[in-house]
């Protein structure tokens, strides 16, 4: 394989990887080559204003696709920057390195964030005949409790043999209703054969476990990017048209005192630095900044709900981020509403 100069070259290279993996799977029962990963990223800037995390970006034929050249691990990052607000970063780096590169990139660049997928996004294929759910990841860190008292919950279930243990499916359903989903595993079938197996994570990452056609993979990832971009546009319009707030509904009760202490220090996974400005036993108002972006946010928190206001031109991606992270950390299953209608779904 020569130097990747065009999008077609990139597709050929990735396609060859799928075919090699399928051959290895057929021969040895397992794949060997690094799986393709994709990260959905939310951007507020054009590509020429954001540096490449490894080396520098080089255009692949000028149609909004880029590859990293020079630096460490060249030709391992491939960016689909064809959309205005949502980019797709494809990579063939191993998972640990790919996660680290992406985390660091997002952390260092203000205006760049992950896409935070809601339950509805993660279960998007549910009901689609061609798709079958194969697994589920749930998380509840109980992040507001002390280490000694935290009732953490974490579960990763691969579907397939749940019927062999009576009652297991019910337990999974109950857990799914009460805790945040952080990953879902799906496979796409065509004539009883798996053509695509993918695991989606709440932080916008997708791992391609199996695939036979790169176009099918890219289309699937692109569909999710489009859905997220539409949701972001809708939320931005709602914010710009009035003075309303986003509403977050939780399944777990929030310890308001612990919440207040945590956010006063800008500590914890939520990464919110807030000051309590009004206190009632079952309702508190907070004002401050979202340390991911340093945008201002107002959060009014009740026992099982919160109202989030993003003033000025602050990025509304804060709504799904705060909902996702707070859900996994301390609030359980979380849904976002505006005027009683669920959004980011």
């Amino acid at each position: 394989m020569g130097r990747i100069q065009t999008l077609q070259n990139l597709k050929e290279m990735l396609q060859a990887g799928f075919e090699d993996n399928e051959a290895l799977l057929a021969q040895y029962g397992q794949t060997h080559l690094t799986q393709l990963k994709a990260y959905l990223l939310e951007t507020n800037y054009p590509i020429d204003e954001i540096e490449c995390p490894l080396g520098s970006w080089s255009s692949l034929g000028g149609a909004g696709w880029y590859i990293n050249r020079g630096g460490r691990s060249p030709s391992t990052l491939f960016l689909d920057a064809t959309r205005k607000r949502i980019w797709i970063l494809y990579t063939i780096l191993d998972a640990t390195e790919a996660d680290a590169v992406t985390d660091n990139w997002v952390r260092c660049i203000k205006g760049l964030d992950r896409c935070w997928l809601s339950r509805n996004h993660l279960l998007h294929y549910d009901g689609n005949e061609a798709w079958q759910q194969r697994g589920l990841g749930l998380k509840f860190s109980d992040g507001l409790a002390s280490d000694e008292e935290a009732g953490r919950f974490s579960l990763k279930a691969w579907y397939g043999a749940t019927e062999k243990i009576p009652g297991l499916a019910d337990v999974l359903d109950t857990a799914k209703e009460n805790f945040a989903i952080y990953s879902t595993r799906w496979q796409k079938l065509k004539e009883d054969s798996v053509t695509l197996a993918v695991e989606w994570y709440s932080n916008g990452k997708a791992t391609i476990n199996r695939a036979i056609d790169i176009d099918e993979v890219m289309l699937s990832i692109s569909d999710m990017a489009n859905r997220y971009e539409d949701a972001l546009d809708e939320a931005t319009n709602l914010r710009d048209d009035g003075l309303g707030a986003f509403e977050l509904n939780f399944t777990q009760s929030i310890d308001l005192e612990a919440f207040s202490k945590t956010v006063a220090m800008g500590r914890g996974r939520m990464n919110l630095w807030l000051i309590e400005t009004e206190t009632e036993p079952d309702f508190r108002r907070f004002k401050g900044v979202d340390l991911h972006t340093w945008d201002r946010v107002f959060l009014d928190v009740g026992p099982d709900y919160a109202y989030l206001t993003v003033p000025g031109r602050g990025c509304v991606n804060a709504a799904p981020r705060i909902a996702t992270i707070q859900g996994e950390d301390n609030a359980g299953r979380t849904s976002i509403f505006f005027d009683g209608v669920e959004i980011f779904g």
Partner: protein
């Protein structure tokens, strides 16, 4: 309710009437009647073309209305009378449904004052609607009747943090999050002018330059206290007029906690410290203009 944050509460509780919440269940009467609203609009009167800038204009399938928000104890009758002449054909400019009739005129307040022949909504802790019979929109009338008595104490904060008449502790409370943003690593800081613009949020365009200058002066006064007493060593005023973090500030949980603790003290203690000294000069009871105006003159 903190007495001195009345204007923000007035706005917050009025805006909530156009929205809906799941928890606790809350459907605002304007929302129920299908009204969409806009703030910061400029409309003109029929024939004469004189400009009018009501605080809120809203339109629904069965009617449209203008809302005046005030803590002032003077009657708003004349002003509301003048709103009746607004030409409804321009509503389309703001994406609102166009009607042919004159608008319903409503004054939103925290306490009852005689506003003449105009409907009044008192939005303090619970909603009270006065002179409902003056409304032309029957659907809205019904929604308001059903809504009367609803509690308003736990409604979402609105993005507006500062109003032109915000004083002392109100300015401080309004600035809390704006000041916190200054501590972003690599921050170039903010000028008092930027802080005023951010605090006004969507009302910025409807506040005249003179009022903004007065607000800037009040911000500078409160920032001076913050810089020299509460956040001494953390915050400095640069030669170019920006408030910026000092070189010693690092993003660390202990530092952030100390800054937020001091900011909280600065924003809250003034309720006690300044209330006594400022109460005579405080304008919420109608000693001066307390509303948002497009022009420099007070309408009172």
């Amino acid at each position: 309710m903190a007495k001195l944050d009345r204007r923000i509460v007035l706005w917050r509780n009025t805006i909530a009437l156009f929205h809906e919440r799941n928890r606790p269940r809350f459907v605002g009467p304007f929302r129920k009647a299908g009204y969409a609203y806009r703030v910061e609009t400029v409309l003109s009167t029929r024939r004469t073309g004189e400009e009018r800038s009501p605080d809120i204009v809203a339109s629904g399938p069965s009617g449209w209305l203008v809302l005046e928000l005030t803590c002032n104890d003077r009657s708003k009758e004349d002003k509301l009378d003048s709103y009746r002449q607004i030409d409804p054909r321009n509503l389309g400019m703001y994406g609102l449904k166009v009607h042919q009739s004159a608008p319903d005129t409503i004054c939103s307040r925290l306490s009852e004052i005689d506003d003449g022949k105009h409907t009044q909504i008192i939005v303090k802790d619970t909603v009270v609607v006065k002179k409902m019979e003056l409304l032309g929109d029957e659907k809205l009338k019904l929604a308001l009747r059903d809504f009367s008595g609803t509690e308003l104490t736990k409604l979402p904060t609105i993005p507006i943090s500062l109003l032109p008449e915000s004083k002392n502790h109100e300015v401080r409370r309004g600035l809390v999050d704006i000041v916190m943003q200054i501590f972003q690593p690599g921050s170039k800081g903010k000028t008092a002018h930027q802080m005023v613009e951010e605090g006004l949020d969507k009302l910025s365009g409807s506040v005249g330059a003179g009022k903004k200058t007065a607000m800037r002066t009040r911000v500078e006064k409160e920032m001076k206290v913050l810089m020299h007493h509460y956040l001494k060593g953390y915050l400095e005023l640069k030669d170019d007029g920006t408030y910026a973090p000092t070189d010693t500030v690092r993003e660390h949980p202990k530092t952030l906690e100390r800054i937020s603790s001091k900011l909280k003290e600065w924003a809250n203690t003034t309720q006690i410290d300044l209330f006594e000294t400022d109460i005579d000069g405080f304008e919420c009871d109608g000693q001066d203009g307390d509303d948002v105006h497009t022009s420099e003159e007070s309408d009172d």
